[in-house]
Every structure is written in structure tokens, then in C-alpha cells.
Amino acid sequence: MKCLAFVPTKDGAATKAGLEAVSYAVSCGAEVTAMMAGPISGDSGAGAAGASKVLHVSDDLKDEAQLAQAVAAAAEAEGAVLVVAPHDHVGRAVAPRVAVRLKAGMVPGVTGLLEGATVQRNVFSGKAMAHVSVHTDRKVLTTTPNAFGVNQGEGQANVESFAPELEPAKLTVTGFDASSEDGSVPLPEAVRVVSAGRGLKGPEHWGIVEELAQALEATTACSRPVSDMGWRPHHEHVGQTGITIRPDLYIAAGISGAIQHLAGVNQSKVIVAINTDPEAPFFKAADYGIVGDAFEVLPKLTAAIQSLD
């Protein structure tokens, strides 16, 4: 089975979510060609992730309509029956367009390997799973970020330049507001997240949350009321109406664990809840819990982490 994996690039390199898509396709038993647009050096890790070839478009395409044209053209050129892209902000805009162009059935946000024509994904905000069957020969899948690892092989992919015919761009990028000056990993890609809620009582108390996050090399998040009240920026809001995350570790302090909050975090591999109320619903969703005052527990936890070698 031939696969074309779309690997988004950022700052001159393949994104981790993109390389996850490559390794995912390899695990599904596919022979993988990766497509990347924009400046990269060498194969940008695609070979190590499992791709045998890279089709490289030199222009740093920003209009997802053009990216989709390039991906569809690459899939045609390679005779790929499977197209895989990450379910991140770029892949979400590119993959549906590719599915239309290739008249392919699409399954977004997969969490399991493609077996025959069936693949697993989460639905109802992580409260259930669906096994979805694709009825077309060609298939488009997007992989949930951080659900699959990146293979660390020895391989090197052959990089070929690729210049498909593209329609003129209809969407232009005119600026960028960086959300964090500290350079921490953006939430959807974060492997560790420290989050806090209304239990922290005010924005002036976030220092202890940030210190723990720093000790863990984690990204900070918050519950919805906290961002609604302006204690924390909007992009930190996780949950049903905010961002969905899937880190290896999610630590929640002073968050009650309302169902709408859990909907955005319940796919985390390990959840730790810290709450003064032993009856807080979060303890039902957590793997580990501390019943206690976040103002005391967080600094102690930070110290315990810092004392690790």
C-alpha cells in the first residue's frame, strides 16, 4: 500500500505532528512518501520517521487550498491509495480539501491503526470511540497529535523537488501574534500540561502554577471560567469549548472536573488532580490525586521535582 503523508513545516523543519503521521502510516504497513512545503534541511527527519522519499515544494505555501492541490497532486503522482496528515490546525484545513479532490472517504483524528478499511477514532469529546469504515478505495486520515510516536530509525529519505501546478493563492497571511514569549510548547502539542482553575482564587496566584510547569518543562492551561474572567489568556482554555489536549501528563489544581472540562483533557495518558474537596468530580477521572490546598501542594511538588537528578 502506497501512502502520501503530508508533513507541515514550521521554522524550516518538519513538525512533530507531521512526522507522527509518517510513522503512523508506516505502522499501518504502508510505503510512505512525505510531502513538505517550505524551506527544510535534508529530509528533515522524514527518513528516520520511516518515509522512503520526500517530495519537496520549495514555496512556503500558506493557503491551504494550494497545499491541498499539492498534496492531491503528490498522491496522484505516487499512486497513493492512503493520504495521512496530522489533525492539527494545518491538517484540519488541508485534509478535507484533499478528500474532496481525490473523492476519498475521510476519517479525521484517528487514534488506532488502519485495519483493512476500518479505523478507530474518539467521538463525543473522548467519551466514546467509533470504529469507522471507509467505503472508497482511496482513504484520507488525520492523526490525533501525540497519539502515536515518531519512529527513530536510521533511514534517510530521498528528497526530490516537486513543482505541481497550483492555482493562485486566495488567502494571504498578513501577521502573527505569538501567544507565549517564553517559547513553551503550544498546548495542542504539549507532552506535559499543568492546569489550574477557579480554586486558585485570582490571577496573582499563578506563579506557583508556572513554577511547577517550568520544573516539569510543561505548558500551562486553565479552566473556562478562568479565561472568561481574564485571569489567563484565552488560548489556555481547555475543554469542550476550548482546546482538546492529549498530553502524557495532565496536572489539574483547583479545578472541579466538570464534564465539559474533562471533555478536553480525558484523553491524557496520566491525570493528576489536586483539590481541597475529596468529593470533587475530578478524582473520578484522575489516576492520582492529592486532597489538599493547591497553595501548599504545588510548591512542595515543584520542590520534589526539582530535587530529581
Binding site: T15, E64, A65, H87, H89, R92, A93, A95, P96, R97, A99, V100, G105, M106, V107, P108, T118, N122, V123, F124, G126, K127, A128, M129, H131, V132, S133, H135, T136, K170, L171, T172, T174, G175, F176, D177, S179, S180, P186, Q240, T241, T244, L249, I259, Q260, K269, V270, A273, F283, K284, D287, Y288, G289, I290, G292, D293, V297, L301, A304, L308
Partner: protein, 248 residues
């Protein structure tokens, strides 16, 4: 410039609904479930379209692919302030089919800005908007957190890795709405009364072949018990995270 807005709204189970399945785990069990307008469609997409209409003039039409059981949530959208509504009478089981049906209406109605939500909270697909954009050959501003119009130009900020990207495109354009684009509006009594007589046009649709379908739903395995660690021993938590959970 006055613009024609089309807002795609779907119905979704209330966020607190018990999730269960019937018919050999192939169908969502809607028994006793309260349905709402999908939050992204209502709070962000619809409200922002109304705000832009209030500023620049124009009209706001909602579009739903679904059966008669969608009518209550469509009336809710009308009560919030949409001028009229279209319902395409089909069972929305396949994103490609939904996008194709919406595309047909979008072309016929010559809408300038077509808004949808970031995703539906039941399917969590995030695919209909992108498919729709490709089908009508329009630019797609995905995951937008703000939206402005100036003449024929649509300007937005959208979620990107590590921040917000500023983008612009000429109408017609498809936009998917994420948090931040607008504040939720609660319909008032006048709106609710007016909604009863606003036009809700039902259009019939042909059955089409599905490109993908759910073979089986499954509930996640029950979470094991939460291990409680004493507040005085955070070192113990660190040890467990390291040795038992193996994530440190």
C-alpha cells in the same frame, strides 16, 4: 458593504448527556437526551454573523442538514436573531454528503461569508468546513478567533502553532469559528416570539452513497481507581509518576 451570511448549524447532544448506544452499538441512543445548537455554531459563528450584520447591514441565514427533529434547535437560532433558516431534509451521516448538500445551497444563494463551527461536539470531525470550501472553490479560514469585514475583504485571526495568524481573503469565503470570536447571546422573549413566524424553508434531498460510516461505537474502558497520595508527601507522587506511570 451589506453581506449575505450563511451560518451552518447542527444539533448536538447537550454537553452533560449520558453517552450510550443502541442497535448493537451502531447508533447513538438519543433516548432522554436534550439536544442543543452545537456550541461553536451558536456561540461563535452565529453571534459573530449577527454582530457583523448589525454593523454593516445584510442578512443572516442558517442552514442545517437534518431531519424534522432539528427544528427546535433551528428555532433557537432564529430566536437569537437569524433572519431565516433552511433545513435540508436528510439524515446527516457522512461529512462529505453534508458538505455537498451545503455547497449546493451556498452556490445557489450566492452567500458572501459562510460560517461553520470549529467542530461538532458529537463527531468532533472538523471536516465539513474544509470540504465545503473545496467544493465551492473558496478560501477557508479555519479555526478563526476573530472576524471582520471591510468591503469585500474578510479579515480574521486564526489559531496557529504558538499563536494567532492574521489572514485575509476576498469573499466568498468559508470560515470556521473557534472560541473568542463572539460572546454567547441568550435569546429574549421578543426573539423567541419572533422566531415562531420567521421562515424555515425545508428542502428535500436525495440519498447519496456514504464515503465512510461508523461500524461500531464503544465506550472507553472504565478508569481504574484514583490513587490518593497524602498532601504531605508529594515525593511519593513523583515516585509513582516515575516508577509506576513511567512518564517522568
Amino acid at each position: 458593504m451589506a453581506m449575505k451570511f450563511l451560518v451552518c448549524i447542527s444539533k448536538a447532544p447537550d454537553t452533560t448527556s449520558r453517552i450510550a448506544f443502541t442497535e448493537g452499538d451502531t447508533q447513538f441512543d438519543a433516548n432522554g437526551v436534550q439536544f442543543i445548537v452545537n456550541p461553536y455554531d451558536e456561540w461563535y459563528a452565529l453571534v459573530r454573523a449577527l454582530e457583523l450584520k448589525e454593523q454593516h447591514g445584510g442578512s443572516v441565514t442558517t442552514l442545517t442538514v437534518g431531519q424534522a427533529d432539528c427544528d427546535p434547535v433551528i428555532r433557537k437560532a432564529l430566536a437569537i436573531g437569524a433572519d431565516d433558516a433552511i433545513r435540508i431534509d436528510a439524515n446527516p451521516v457522512d461529512a462529505m454528503q453534508v458538505a455537498t448538500l451545503i455547497a449546493e445551497q451556498a452556490r445557489q444563494g450566492a452567500y458572501d461569508v459562510i460560517l461553520c463551527g470549529k467542530e461538532t461536539i458529537d463527531h468532533n470531525g472538523s471536516v465539513v468546513g474544509g470540504m465545503l470550501a473545496e467544493l465551492i472553490d473558496a478560501p477557508f479560514i479555519s479555526l478563526a478567533t476573530s472576524l471582520e469585514v471591510e468591503g469585500n475583504t474578510v479579515k480574521a485571526k486564526r489559531e496557529a502553532s504558538g499563536g494567532l495568524e492574521h489572514v485575509q481573503a476576498e469573499s466568498p469565503v468559508v470560515v470556521s469559528a473557534s472560541k473568542g470570536m463572539a460572546e454567547q447571546r441568550i435569546p429574549n422573549m421578543r426573539g423567541i416570539m419572533a422566531a415562531r413566524t420567521k421562515p424555515l424553508n425545508v428542502i428535500s434531498a436525495e440519498e447519496s452513497a456514504q464515503s465512510a460510516s461508523v461500524a461500531k461505537f464503544e465506550l472507553p474502558p472504565a478508569k481504574g481507581d484514583c490513587k490518593i497520595v497524602s498532601a504531605d508527601e508529594p515525593e511519593e507522587l513523583v515516585r509513582l509518576l516515575r516508577e509506576e506511570a513511567k512518564i517522568l
